[in-house]
Structures are given as structure tokens and as C-alpha cells.
Amino acid sequence: MISLEEVATRRAPLALANLSLAWGPGAHALVGGAADGGALVLAVVAGATRLRSGRVRVLDGAPTDAGIRPRIGFVPVQPVLPPAMSVTEVLTLAAAIRREPEQDAEDRLRQLGIEALARRAVATLSPEEARAVAMVEAVTSSRVRVLLIEEPFVALDPRAVTRLPDVVRARAAEGWAVVIATSSVRDAGEIADDHVLLKAGAVVGRAASLDALAGFAPQGVLLRILAEDPRGLAAALAREECVEAVARRGAAVVARGRDAVELARAAGRAIVVSGARVTEIRVQPPSLDEVRAAAAGVEAATYESALDRTRASLLLAERRP
């Protein structure tokens, strides 16, 4: 659905050089900081930035094609809504431009829990409310098939924050290509099924799960368990073989290991053994730097492995008569 081939572009102070990516239906994430170019990639896919070289294809056409443009929903951090209109009028106008059947505005807004904004004038909306309206327009469109969201949970109305992941995942399940650009590993994990790690405009790694990738990071996987008897639980966890370290932080116990699944099993056993009453168990998302380090580690390991295989095959060839 989306492909970038050897794309080079610049929007000061960011630049992309020879970037190639491809995404099909589903939820995808570009993970990187503000200076890494995730937002610029979204602008390229949306046709909002001119290319210096390379080619972008969206839904088998250029993103600037008249037939393709209305099928792309792009929600930047600071979207601009037409002023001097009510929210209902904005949704009606957007439907007319996208050439889609008009839907009831309140029904559309209800999907993100902001139906109370229907009669408000755009000029009276806070930036968070305006962004939620722009988000509703994009995620409830019947024409959009490619949805691009910059920092999905940043500067968004709190009512919409809780509902957005389910709505976006539902669209991805319907066959939309959803791409988010975020600097939050947690946000990326909450929405996307695969992750492209960006650094300074270049792809430094790809992963299906950032939690799994964290296992390759120097710090490993961290499991945080909130319990009523943290001391007993910590003691039980310390006896588990796959747990590398345990620490108590107030009412929480943090366990470190290499494998998320093994760690979760160990935590389950420790809870049963200690009899602790557990309130919450959560895998702590790794930081952006940890994920990048892990990706680099995986790539290095892959390189070393390939080198070893090459050396072995050369040795084998030398020994042959």
C-alpha cells in the first residue's frame, strides 16, 4: 500500500537520504525522536513535501494524485482546521472534499468520546480538542485507506486518548495502512505491530515487538509488579533462575531478565509461592536509546554470525582436495 524507494528530501533542519520502506495493511510505527525524521517521512507519504529524488507510491499511485489524496488521512501534531466553521460543518466539508457519503457528525465524534464538541465553533476549540476533531475526521472517514498520525497521544484531548488505540487497531484490522511516527516506545507498542527505528533520518533497525527487542538490550527486560507484600514477592522472585536481578521500589517489585515470556512465567510462580496479592503486572517499555542499542546489537550479532558462516565455508573449501 505504501512504498518509498530511495527517497531523499529535506525540510530544515531535517533531511532524509536514500530511504526505502514499504508497508502493507496493518498498524506500523516509525520510532524516533523529533530530530530523527519520522514526521518528515509521514509528510512525504502524505504528499506534503517535495522529493529531491526517489519515488513514493501510495495505493498504487502518487500521493499527490487527485484520486489518491482524499484516501490519505494525515494528522500532524498541530492540525489546522478551517476557521469560521462549527465542528459539524468541518466534518461535512471534509466529507464533501473526500467525496464520501455524509455521516452524522455526533456519531463520528462519539467514536473518540468527543461528541460534546459537535456544535462548538472551531475558533473556540483548544489545540487538544482541535486535534481530536482532526483525528475523528481521519479515523472515521469511509474513504481513507492510509492513515498517518504524528505522535498519536501528544496534545490530544484526554477523552480521545483512551479510545484511540482501539479505533486505530480496528481500522488496521479492516485493511487500512496505519503509520504512526512517535518518540515514545510505549505509544508505538500500544498501537503498532511492527516498528521501524529511525535515527537522524536513517533506518537503524526493524522489529515486530519492541519488548522482545529489549531482551537484546544490555539492560534486558524489566517486569514491574505492584503487590501488597512486595518483600515476600521479591524473595520468591530472587529464587527464580531466569531472573537476573530484583529490586524493590516502594510497593512495586522490578525483576530483570533476558526473555519476557520466561520472566512472566517466573513472576507467576513467585506470586503463587509468596501468596502476594498483586494489583498490576506490566512489562516496562524500554527507552528509545535502549531499543536502538538492542537493534544495533541484533544487527551486529547477525553480522558476526554471517561472518562466522562465511569463514567456516571458506575453511571447508580450503580443506577440500
Partner: protein, 226 residues
């Protein structure tokens, strides 16, 4: 599609209180000049009011306010950004904004010129109806010229900073009767209203020149914004 993308700039123009007040203010000032000319009992009252107030002052500033209202005080491309975000073509959105501005300026220019002419009409001016129609025609053409001139200005700068620059350029260059006045709306509008022509052009030639220049300025503005 054009109708849909024209809706937003039209509503912006009609619903922004500051624009409405400014437009009403310039209409009031123009009509006040017309009334003042009548009170003075001038035999060529319409000529004096049209050439003294409408051409050099009211019509340019009225068009400036109207074009600024259509683009919301920003650049042309910034003004069309919300529509482009919904999938509208930037070219169509820019064309719609330029057309809405042109329509507003043509209608306002014709109305204010005819109104001033009727109020200031003197004893030796041509017959009222014919003179009012001629003034409305000149006002409409002048409005079209100024809308395109300021649309061109709106295509420069992030906040449409080219608009005030072209306002000043029109004032300075258009004041003369030399070649410089040929490239501004002011010189041709003055000729159409019965004033000193630029380079001794006939009124018909000025009308054609203004129409051609307006089309050219609008096309350049559209090309820059799309």
C-alpha cells in the same frame, strides 16, 4: 468540488467579525465622501468623490481587507492548508480562494462606486443612471484588479507579507502617469474613473490592460500557491 472548497474561504470572509467591521467601515467612509461632495454643491461632485477618495483610497483598502479576510491574514497556501489536509487539490483550493476574493472585490467595488456616484452626483455630471453604471463598471474592474494584485501579494511570505508590500507599491508606482503606473491597478482605475491616464492610454485600453493584468496576477498567485 470547487463549490466545496470555496465554501471555507467564503464563510471565513462572511463570519469573521473583524473583516465585516472593516468592510462596513470602508463602505461608510466612501459614502461619507459622497455625501460631503453633495453638501459642498460641487457641479462635478461624482468626479471629485470617485477620483479623490474611491480610486486612490477606499477601493484599494477595501480590496486589501477583503483579500486578507479570505486568506485569514495568512499566506494563500496557508489559508488553503486545512482543505488540502482533507484531500483537496492545492490547485483547486487556491483557485477557489482567489475566485472568492475576486467575487467579493468585484461586487463590493461595483456597489461602493455606484453608491458614491449616486450620492455625490453633481449638476454637470452625466445622467445619473448612465454615470452610476459606468462607475459600477469601473469599480468592478478595479475590484477585480486589486483582488488579483493582493492575491499575488498573499502568495509571498509565510503570513502573506507580500500584500502590504504591493499595497505600498501600488500607491507609489500608480500615483504617476508614467510607465510605472501601467503595471499597477491604480493607474488604470484612475483612467477608468476619468482621471489622468497612464501614458495617455484610452479608457478602453486601460480596461483591457487591467483585465489582462488581473488575469496574469491571479494566475501567478495560483501557480505559486498550488
Amino acid at each position: 468540488m470547487i463549490a466545496a472548497v470555496a465554501w471555507a474561504p467564503a464563510l471565513r470572509l462572511l463570519r469573521t467579525p473583524r473583516t465585516r467591521m472593516a468592510v462596513a467601515g470602508w463602505f461608510a467612509i466612501a459614502l461619507a465622501f459622497g455625501i460631503a461632495a453633495r453638501w459642498r454643491g460641487s457641479a462635478h461632485g461624482a468626479d471629485h468623490a470617485l477620483l479623490g477618495a474611491l480610486g486612490p483610497l477606499v477601493l484599494p483598502l477595501l480590496a486589501y481587507v477583503l483579500v486578507g479576510g479570505v486568506v485569514g491574514g495568512h499566506s494563500l497556501s496557508h489559508a488553503t492548508a486545512p482543505l488540502v489536509a482533507f484531500g483537496a487539490s492545492p490547485a483547486r483550493s487556491a483557485a477557489a480562494a482567489i475566485l472568492v476574493a475576486a467575487g467579493a472585490c468585484v461586487v463590493s467595488g461595483a456597489l461602493v462606486a455606484a453608491g458614491v456616484d449616486v450620492l455625490a452626483h453633481g449638476s454637470t455630471d452625466p445622467p445619473l443612471l448612465r454615470d452610476a453604471l459606468a462607475s459600477a463598471y469601473a469599480g468592478a474592474l478595479g475590484g477585480a484588479g486589486y483582488s488579483a494584485w493582493f492575491a499575488l501579494g498573499s502568495s509571498f511570505g509565510r503570513r502573506g507579507g507580500g500584500r502590504p508590500v504591493l499595497l505600498v507599491a501600488d500607491w507609489v508606482l500608480g500615483a504617476s502617469d508614467g510607465a510605472a503606473a501601467l503595471v499597477t491597478p491604480r493607474g488604470h482605475l484612475r483612467n477608468l474613473l476619468g482621471g489622468v491616464p497612464p501614458l495617455d492610454l484610452s479608457q478602453r485600453a486601460s480596461a483591457v490592460a487591467l483585465a489582462l493584468l488581473a488575469t496574469g496576477w491571479a494566475l501567478v498567485a495560483w501557480r505559486r500557491a498550488r
